[in-house]
Amino acid sequence: MKKIKIKELIEKIEGEAELDFTIEDGRIEDVKINFGFYRGIEEILQGRDAWDALVITPRVCGICNHAHLIAAVRAIEDGYQNAGINLLLSEKAKKIRSFTLACELIQNHMKWFYMTIVPQLEAYLQIDNRQNHALKATYLSSTVTKALAIFAGQWPHSSYAIPGGVSCDPTHLDLMQAEALIDECIRFVEQVLIGMDMAQYLDISSVSQLHEVGGDLGRLMHLIGSSGMATLGQSYDRFIVFGESLLSSSGKSIATAVSKVDPRYVQESAQDESMAKAVTYKKRLYETGPLARGMVAKRPIIKSLHKRYKDALLTRIFARMHEVSLLLTESKRLLRELDLNEPSCTLDIDTRCADFEGTGIVEAARGSLIHQTEVSGGLIHRYEIITPTQWNLSHGSGDEHGIAVEAMIGSKSIQEATFIFRTFDVCSVCTTQ
């Protein structure tokens, strides 16, 4: 049979990627994913003061910069602990960090849904809809980042998380303003995204109840179902989560069996023709991100969807958008639970550690993000960043295709394949750093 090769540039994905498709018999047979420019953040950090990572690493990515900050501060804290400095973070500091990180995830998911998934699906299905979906994305994302900025000063590119806690010292006035903003987000999600009461929505535990979901999410699920796309985009059904978060513990899930993970078995390797490095766990590829978190946490509605559709695009899309309601509910709880009498930061201003090695792990919007820092004489000797998209978007290793590649193989058109590609919430800048 004749093989055709087609190169396709994918844009509006936090940069661009080039996909080289091999098509045989009208089906996608293979895909090479190529990301562009290597910016060298890890090299830039070499020789700099250990704390400078708190400022430099957020600049890996304009959309998940806060996750990089949290990973960077955890790497330093882990290093300080390893060097014998006891850093016992206050509950207040931990909760504020969880809150701001949740805000960033919500911002990210809403932009992905309204600026990527909805318009791309409408274009693919040739639905003429002249709504400005991006207006919904920016309304919600600018509201939730405002709540984030109450504690972090700004978004993007805050450096408010410092070893031992956070730099802010909030008042009840701040908490009330933040809660009003979260309430506004909840109202928006109820009225526009899910078309129902959030508590009732979060009670849904089985696919058979999903018809109750209205709003733009309900409409999208219906469009995917009625166009026969629900089962497309399946990969290896293997998931991994390294970070502990509001959403799940760490662990891996193969089909439905969940077991423990140890970050020491993560391996990075260079790939030909791409600036992005591939990542494996014990030499196997895993999907990371919201679907992985849902599977490892054994969340009933995700398990139910998975039972019917496996790791197909419908499950993947729903898992991501489901996190918005989970995170908003958790954010509100965190604000209510904050005890302002606790210290914001437990590190003494004069305590600095000059020689250490540490690892920081965080659950970012797209999955597990790992920072490793090696510091000697107060200066960074080696810094390593492993981003979630490196897990999902590599070419593959050994005999296996990459996670997203496997999901695209068998597609009957390039448009279908690129839609599947986008369900992974592709981030070009994070992948090549």
Binding site: E11, E14, R48, P156, D169, S344, I349
Partner: protein, 300 residues
């Protein structure tokens, strides 16, 4: 009633070596679509726009206002097989105004650190004019910041769409935005005046200039006048200003104040060292009780 249709200026947002932070910062502007409505947005990195990236790379898009995001490199950054520098030069020639959005596009910024010889801002390499300066200077507006402040960019775009002239300084920064320092409007100003440094991290009391590396008093920008996310700023929540709008950004040891004999090595903008030392000597001879206490206490 046939109203005369004035065609709107064509706005093209082009990315070079970047993290997309400026794009996402501007998406925080609550009235972003109203600001954009004064223009025909021909290309944007994430928003739906009239032309595709193919058209952009083929140099086929009309362009009146070019927004540049990211550091500049002559060779080695290609998209769709075309050197990005070639796209920048082409659309820069077409445009009547060029806005360098962010410190990377303006001075080189963080990504310059990877290869300082080859990577720079578009018309400035730190403070030095690049070879492109002369050609593009007449239409250049610099908006440094890591990232840009959404309201600063909106101001420039609205001024341009109304055909108003923007007053700029020698580095082409609008004086209405960069005539202030980040220190202006900081909620810790009383502590600065009375030279009271903060006693630790995570406190609303105390100034960050003496120990924690704050560059606010000598960094140009209106961060504490036009707040971030319409809400706050770094210094207000206890993070030092890292000088991210300045040509030399990022300096080294961002959380540490360099000192000479216990006095900050870099003086507040335009203040002679002697004047600073005189004032410091006077205020430090007083102990103001209010500044040694917490601003407010909750019932324990």
């Amino acid at each position: 009633m046939g109203q005369v249709q004035h065609s709107k200026p064509k706005l093209l947002w082009l990315q070079s070596i970047t993290c997309n932070g400026n794009t996402h910062s501007f998406l925080n502007h609550p009235d972003i679509f109203s600001v954009f409505s004064g223009f025909e947005v021909v290309h944007h990195p994430v928003l739906e726009s009239e032309y595709t990236f193919h058209d952009l790379a083929a140099l086929k898009i009309p362009c009146d206002i070019l927004i540049l995001e990211g550091s500049f490199i002559e060779k080695g950054l290609t998209k769709n097989g075309v050197e990005v520098s070639k796209m920048i030069t082409h659309y820069g020639n077409e445009a009547s105004h060029i806005i360098t959005a962010g410190t990377c596009a303006t001075f080189g910024g963080i990504f310059k650190q990877k290869d300082p010889e080859q990577i720079s801002g578009f018309c400035f390499d730190i403070e030095q004019q690049t070879e492109r300066y002369e050609k593009f200077a007449s239409k250049l507006i610099s908006l440094p910041g890591c990232p840009i402040h959404p309201r600063w960019l909106a101001y420039v775009l609205m001024m341009l769409s109304q055909g108003k002239k923007i007053a700029i300084d020698r580095l082409h920064r609008p004086v209405e935005l960069y005539g202030y320092t980040v220190h202006t409007g900081c909620t810790r100003n009383e502590y600065f005046e009375w030279k009271v440094d903060t006693k630790g991290y995570g406190l609303k009391e105390g100034c960050l200039f003496y120990e924690q590396g704050c560059q606010g008093p000598y960094t140009r920008g209106s961060c504490n006048k036009i707040l971030w996310n319409d809400t706050s700023s770094k210094t207000r929540i206890g993070t030092p200003c890292f000088g991210c709008t300045e040509p030399q950004y990022p300096k080294d040891r961002l959380f540490v104040t360099r000192t000479n004999m216990g006095i900050p090595a870099t003086m507040p903008l335009g203040i002679p060292r002697r004047a600073y030392l005189t004032l410091t000597g006077v205020v430090k001879s007083f102990k103001i009780k209010r500044f040694s206490q917490r601003l407010l206490e909750y019932d324990q």
